[in-house]
């Protein structure tokens, strides 16, 4: 410990404190706002920012689930596949049921959604059991499951998008508004609120932090670590399934290629928002901002007419940068420097 001769108010000190508490996100957000408002006049307008908010709903939902898995000390590479599979399965179910119940559209939609959630839950349980019971590393488990599920989705559809969904489905969950707020946004707000309660005020949420912080210590504190891990992967898959349903409603087709970039984007959103890859650290409200940030950067690059190929380069670099800063922050927390 050095003898601090002055503990005065200095910008560097404040920056350090913010960095340790929240992570690198505030700095990146400020930088993005400055850069993109310089490159495009249309960027810093209320209308554009509302658009970004609406578009970021899907990534934020997936990131909520990814955050749980990361906090528990793992990660989930299969979220994109779950989006595709739940999209395909729910769409096919609705199309198949429509002729049987032509007068009960809501029943068809409900059963279709149920099928989508069910398949998501199965995938989540598979991941969870593999990681928690058989001790497969999360990387291999979710990578393997992602490949298997993606193959299944393509096999089911033969690679052809599933169309002719009930009109009401897209009309309500894709483009509908309640009190002039888009339905997907409302759903996201509810999910964010529930997740916040769950992680900050419920015992189950606190157990996830405990397991990610030190799984052996959690076990010696009487926590059922297996059940906690399985629960985390199931919730993550269910949120990805929900996202799959909302995206299906938005594009009015079931598509096996949906969500392919979601695994990378959701991990990036979380890590940039200060969720530690070592587990045990992360906050719901920051992850919401992290998801918003990723979409904001994509939007800014679109307005600046940067090609989508270069955007991939930027996104990958951002992820690595975020991990580098995560390392730095961890050392600061541990007092090593």
């Amino acid at each position: 410990m050095n003898t601090a001769t002055e503990t005065r108010f200095s910008p560097l000190r404040i920056a350090r404190t913010v960095f340790i508490r929240v992570g690198v996100l505030p700095f990146l957000l400020a930088a993005a706002l400055v850069v993109f408002s310089l490159t495009s006049q249309a960027f810093l307008t209320t209308q554009n920012l509302i658009n970004v908010g609406r578009q970021s709903v899907y990534l934020i939902l997936v990131s909520m689930g990814q955050m749980l898995v990361l906090i528990s000390g793992g990660f989930d590479l299969s979220v994109g596949m779950v989006i595709a599979l739940s999209s395909v399965v729910s769409a096919m179910t609705m199309v198949a049921l429509m002729p049987m119940f032509p007068d009960a559209v809501w029943l068809v939609i409900a059963l279709g959604a149920l099928a989508g959630f069910a398949v998501a839950a199965v995938v989540g349980a598979l991941n969870g059991v593999g990681v928690a019971v058989f001790g497969v590393s999360p990387f291999i488990m979710t990578l393997g499951v992602a490949s298997a599920g993606a193959g299944l989705a393509l096999f089911l559809t033969g690679g052809v998008p599933v169309s002719n969904l009930p009109f009401t489905f897209g009309d309500t969950f894709g483009f509908g508004r309640i009190w002039n707020v888009p339905v997907p946004v409302l759903i996201a707000i509810v999910v964010i609120f529930v997740m916040w309660i769950y992680m900050a005020h419920m015992r189950n949420g606190a157990q996830i932090y405990a397991v990610g912080g030190n799984i052996k210590a959690a076990n010696l504190s009487g926590i059922d670590t297996r059940r906690t891990l399985i629960r985390v992967y199931v919730i993550c898959a269910l949120l990805a399934g929900l996202t799959g349903l909302l995206l299906t409603a938005r594009v009015e087709t079931g598509d096996a290629n949906m969500g392919s970039s979601m695994a990378l984007e959701s991990i990036a959103a979380c890590v940039i928002a200060g969720v530690s890859l070592r587990g045990g650290i992360g906050r719901v409200e920051n992850v919401v901002l992290g998801g918003f940030f990723i979409i904001l950067v994509q939007n800014g690059m679109n307005l600046a007419q940067i090609s989508s190929y270069m955007q991939m380069v930027v996104l990958g670099s951002l992820l690595i940068l975020a991990v580098v800063f995560d390392q730095l922050r961890y050392r600061m927390i541990m007092g090593q420097r």
Partner: protein, 500 residues
């Protein structure tokens, strides 16, 4: 003797935040001698050798090799100076062969390729020269610990070895293996090597030691020739004054049996019978690997149970998982707070929240923030963790304060039986006294308490009854006047009838 010592230290000190691990120690090792370092856990032995071995750097003071001042910044530098250390934790790669381990980093080459045949032949020769009967092609993971140690020692004989440091080399060896090791040590001594030997086993010293240096609380008490001293004098030097200061007076009132263990078999445990009573502290002594810790890890559900019966307060808890055992009222406090006990990257408050929400504040699905806050303040006050440290990240606290947090966790579950595994490892004297008072209070409040410790004075002073473990079995149960260093040590080495 005009020749300078092989290695010597002058005013050597090492300080950690809050602890002076080594305090101005002068030490020297001559060629052709075995110099024993003796002292309690935490006396500074390990710190001293870690400085000589290059695993740590001193805060102040000087190390000289052959009279020349040197600074040893890494283990590799120490080895270049001819100093080789065999730590308790071996530096072997378990999945590689004996020969590959011996030649790690200096493999004989045939062009760009490793010459495996030459390597194996050389390894066989080196092992035979030292009298070690080991197959150089065997995989290290499959060797017994005694042979792994021989491989570790064989690794030392590259280049100009002049100082060999052995850290508790006999801790888990049988008597025959110990004899074997001593023959080897005496031969190396005759060959002119200097050997620094660390051990708790005082009855071994007469067989090999030339001089003994006694350390206590980081300071050197004295260096004496083995021929001028005896066991009693050494123990008196080792223990010193602090025993009466640190340990509380405990009024044991043994009551009903809460834990009854019959014929327990588990990893490293080979048929243990044992009972623990309310209102007393049961001490468990034994060497590393004697099963003293593993037995309770099996009971607490951390390790698997193979056979036997464990009854706790009338319930059969044999082989149950930790969560169930804890719910029944048994708390196991781990000896490894860093890897098993605490979340090092989180503050003390978060660490305690976990136990409170699983233990005494576990009502309903929500976190009861207010109840948890009140309980937390009470428990932290009880373990005397200063308010200043409660919001700090665990990694930034001293070992003593970390241990207070670990103790705080044990008070969250309203347990009836507390098993403290090495409760004061790496903890300074002041904190030790506080932790001992907590243990005393538990026993006096009628709880059942078990203290497992490698620190003999700790066991002797806290326990009403001492169970000594050797090779996975109970080798003795001592009470009253029989609880003394000589009697306990005698049972450490018990091996099918023969004493060491």
């Amino acid at each position: 003797m005009t020749q300078p010592p092989l290695i010597s230290t002058h005013d050597l000190s090492k300080a950690y935040p809050g602890v002076k691990a080594l305090d101005s120690v002068d030490f020297d090792l001559r060629a052709g001698e075995v110099h024993v370092l003796f002292g309690e856990n935490g006396a500074g032995k390990s710190t001293l050798i870690s400085l000589l071995a290059g695993a740590n750097t001193p805060t102040s003071g000087e190390v000289r090799v052959n009279g020349q001042p040197v600074s040893i910044a890494s283990v590799a530098e120490a080895q270049a100076l001819g100093i080789y250390t065999v730590f308790q934790e071996f530096s072997l790669i378990p999945t590689m062969s004996v020969a590959e381990n011996i030649f790690l980093g200096r493999e004989p080459k045939a062009g760009p390729f490793v010459n495996h045949r030459l390597m194996r032949r050389e390894a066989a020769r080196m092992l035979a020269e030292r009298g070690f009967e080991i197959d150089p092609a065997a995989m290290v993971a499959q060797l017994p610990r005694a042979q792994q140690q021989m491989v570790e020692i064989a690794k030392a004989f590259h280049g100009d070895l002049s100082v060999l440091i052995l850290d508790e080399p006999t801790a888990s060896l049988s008597n025959r293996e110990v004899d074997h090791l001593f023959e080897f040590v005496l031969r190396m001594k005759a060959a002119g090597l200097g050997i620094i030997y660390i051990s708790h086993r005082i009855n071994e010293f007469a067989r090999i030691a030339d001089r003994v240096t006694v350390l206590r609380d980081g300071a050197k008490i004295d260096t004496v020739a083995m021929s001028d001293t005896n066991d009693q004098a050494l123990i008196a030097m080792m223990a010193g004054r602090e025993i009466t200061d640190v340990y509380p007076q405990i009024n044991h009132a043994p009551g009903e049996v809460v834990l009854n263990v019959e014929n327990l078999h588990a990893w490293g445990v080979d048929g243990v019978d044992l009972s623990v009573r309310r209102g007393e502290v049961l001490g468990i002594a034994g060497l590393v690997g004697s099963g003293k810790s593993r037995m309770f890890r099996a009971i607490a559900g951390v390790n698997a149970t193979r056979e036997g019966r464990v009854q706790f307060r009338g319930k059969d808890i044999t082989g149950q998982i930790t969560r169930k055992v804890m719910a029944a009222g048994l708390y196991y406090l781990t000896s490894d707070r860093k890897h098993e006990g605490l979340n090092m990257a989180a503050p003390a408050t978060d660490n305690l929240t976990i136990d409170l929400m699983m233990g005494s504040c576990a009502n309903g699905p929500f976190l009861r923030h207010r109840a948890i806050g009140q309980e937390m303040a009470r428990i932290f006050d009880h373990v005397e963790l200063h308010a200043h440290y409660r919001a700090r990240t665990i990694a930034q606290l001293s070992g003593g304060n970390q241990q207070k947090v670990l103790f705080a966790k044990s008070f969250c579950h309203g347990s009836e039986l507390y098993i403290f595994d090495e409760p004061t490892v790496g903890v300074d004297m002041g904190t030790r006294a506080a932790l001992y008072r907590l243990i005393a209070e538990l026993a006096e409040a009628g709880k059942a308490v078990v203290v497992i410790s490698s620190d003999l004075p700790e066991v002797m002073n806290l326990a009403n009854r001492v169970v000594v473990m050797a090779q996975g079995r109970v080798s003795a149960e001592l009470t009253g006047d029989a609880i003394n260093e000589a009697d306990i040590l005698k049972h450490f080495f018990q091996e099918t009838g023969a004493d060491a």
